[in-house]
């Protein structure tokens, strides 16, 4: 009984001062989003196996495709690598963006989201914060692909600056595209549904593109599809950035699709997030 009354006194001591804390808190868009971003990073720290997927797959693809197809498609693996690496960067970021939906879906089904939703938190903050965390993931996996590429002989004309600009463009693109998976994450009943549906979208989007093969070798109808695929537009822009020949127009093309997606999906995602569950 003594222990109990001690705990009562201890609790009272920490509860009292806060009551006189003045104005109740308000939502703060930036601070709230950053807090959720921090949470996403902590989750990665506690579950590094999440990163494993994101790291191993792109490394595997880079090494495998370079040596498998290099000689046949471009005369030598070295020449092919210069062509392939920007594409692999895009593919990596696309594959990683599924995790946005996957983690949100896992999260929303938990009791802690009841707590967040009953707090004076900026409504989109959990989603925006998750995207900040994902950006960290994109950057890590892109850097690893670049490092592997450099070790294998990838030499961009525009040097370090080209790599950094490419990473920035990739991040912007992924944040825009990520809203599709956010919506999927909000709609799907289970995380594995998100994965399955996500792959259904991503597979054709990444393979029917100019990542692996020069579209000039494809039949005309396929060239038409590949030409308008947003993934191809991004790959072209990244290749040009790496080659030092990029134009503002090209970057505009690359960012058009994610901009449109974000414009349509952000309000929808917020509606879905706000509904009862």
């Amino acid at each position: 009984m003594n222990g109990d009354s001690a705990s009562r006194r201890a609790v009272m001591a920490v509860v009292r001062p806060a009551t006189s804390g003045g104005e109740p808190p308000r939502s703060r868009p930036v601070a709230d989003s950053v807090a959720f971003g921090w949470r996403a990073l902590l989750k990665i720290k506690h579950m590094p196996e999440q990163l494993f997927d994101v790291i191993v797959t792109p490394v595997m693809f880079t090494v495998m495709f370079t040596y498998l197809f290099g000689s046949a498609l471009a005369g030598s693996p070295h020449v092919y690598l210069q062509f392939l690496l920007p594409g692999i960067l895009v593919q990596t970021v696309m594959f990683t963006s599924i995790y946005t939906g996957f983690t949100l879906n896992t999260d929303f089904s938990k009791g802690i989201f009841d707590r967040f939703r009953s707090m004076p938190v900026w409504r989109p903050a959990p989603i925006v914060g998750a995207m900040l965390g994902d950006s960290a993931r994109y950057t890590v996996s892109s850097l690893i692909v670049v490092a592997i590429g450099l070790a294998m002989g990838f030499r961009p004309e525009s040097g370090l600056a080209g790599i950094l600009w490419s990473l920035l463009l990739l991040d912007l693109f992924a944040i825009g595209i990520g809203w599709v998976f956010t919506i999927l994450g909000l709609l799907a009943r289970t995380p594995s549904t998100v994965m399955t549906l996500g792959w259904l979208v991503l597979m054709p989007l990444t393979f029917v593109s100019n990542i692996y093969v020069d579209p000039a070798t494809m039949p005309g109808w396929l060239q038409a599809i590949v030409g308008v695929n947003p993934v191809s537009l991004l790959v072209t822009a990244i290749r040009d950035i790496m080659a030092g020949t990029v134009t503002a127009e090209m970057v505009g093309f690359a960012l058009a699709a994610p901009a449109v997606i974000a414009t349509v999906c952000v309000p929808l995602a917020l509606r879905l997030y706000g509904r009862e569950r």
């Binding site: 109990d4 705990s7 609790v11 920490v14 804390g21 109740p24 601070a31 989750k43 009841d114 004076p120």
Partner: protein
Amino acid sequence: MTVDSSLAIQADGLAKSFRGSPALAGVDLRVRQGSIYGLLGPNGAGKTTTVRLLATLLRPDAGNAHILGYDVVREPEEVRRRISLTGQFASVDEDLTGRDNLILLGRLLGFRWSAARVRATELLDAFDLAEAAKRQVKTYSGGMRRRLDIAASVVRTPDLLFLDEPTTGLDPRSRGQVWQIVRALADSGTTVLLTTQYLEEADQLADRIAVVDRGTIIAEGTPTELKASVGRDVLRLTLRDAGQRETARDLIVGQLGRRVHLEADQRVLAVQLSGSDEALPILDAMARAGLRADEFALGTPSLDEVFFALTGHPAEPADGESEESALEAHR
């Protein structure tokens, strides 16, 4: 309708259905500021739905509610600034450490990083969690998790705290600790709305209790008033032979003229007495009629008996209408 902003909770005619099956059918509540209010009822009675409506997580189909004078539907943001919710299931992040959970909530409540860290340490010490501070919550025991849950709700002390079944599944010692914490919070001026399945808990903690059954409030008052209305003393008999239960019931009904509650155990029956002095004559009469009791006990009514007394039916959720299954279906 006039809104009394001196009330922590004012709800009128709250109703809510999930996919056509009603979870709440017109609930009125008046909760005074600074008090502990208990919602008492079995699983599926509508307690959690009530809490979720008041905490702005659900919208009522009908009726309205004001928290500290703010409308839960029209001014949810103002409501959220003043409440904390400790849900029935883990309302902390299991993947994070206890300390990081509290820092995160501190940040979301407007603390600077340094202040959030100081506050986290303070709370971990006070809630007896300092040693587990750097462990992931998924490694915590039930009692530790519950203390962290509540600590998470008072990172900034709210004006109104919702505790949904704070002690369900806890061992007696952990339950005692949670009770002390709830009392401390009330002493500090926070209004607490707690839901519970345990009459004893409501009796121990609450200033007023509403008994909830099948989506409506069937009784309301102070614990003393409620128990007086039910009858304070309950005599519970365990017969040697289940086959004699009908006979025993008839005998007791004949003697007291009161309803006798037949419990799930085929050998057990219970009856409310107006005083403990009624017990001996019953045992006496039973002995004379050759009815053998293995055990008898005189005590306060259980929730089951309160329900039986108030409603005439046992405290079991109707099939398929439990709150959880309704919520599940909704998801």
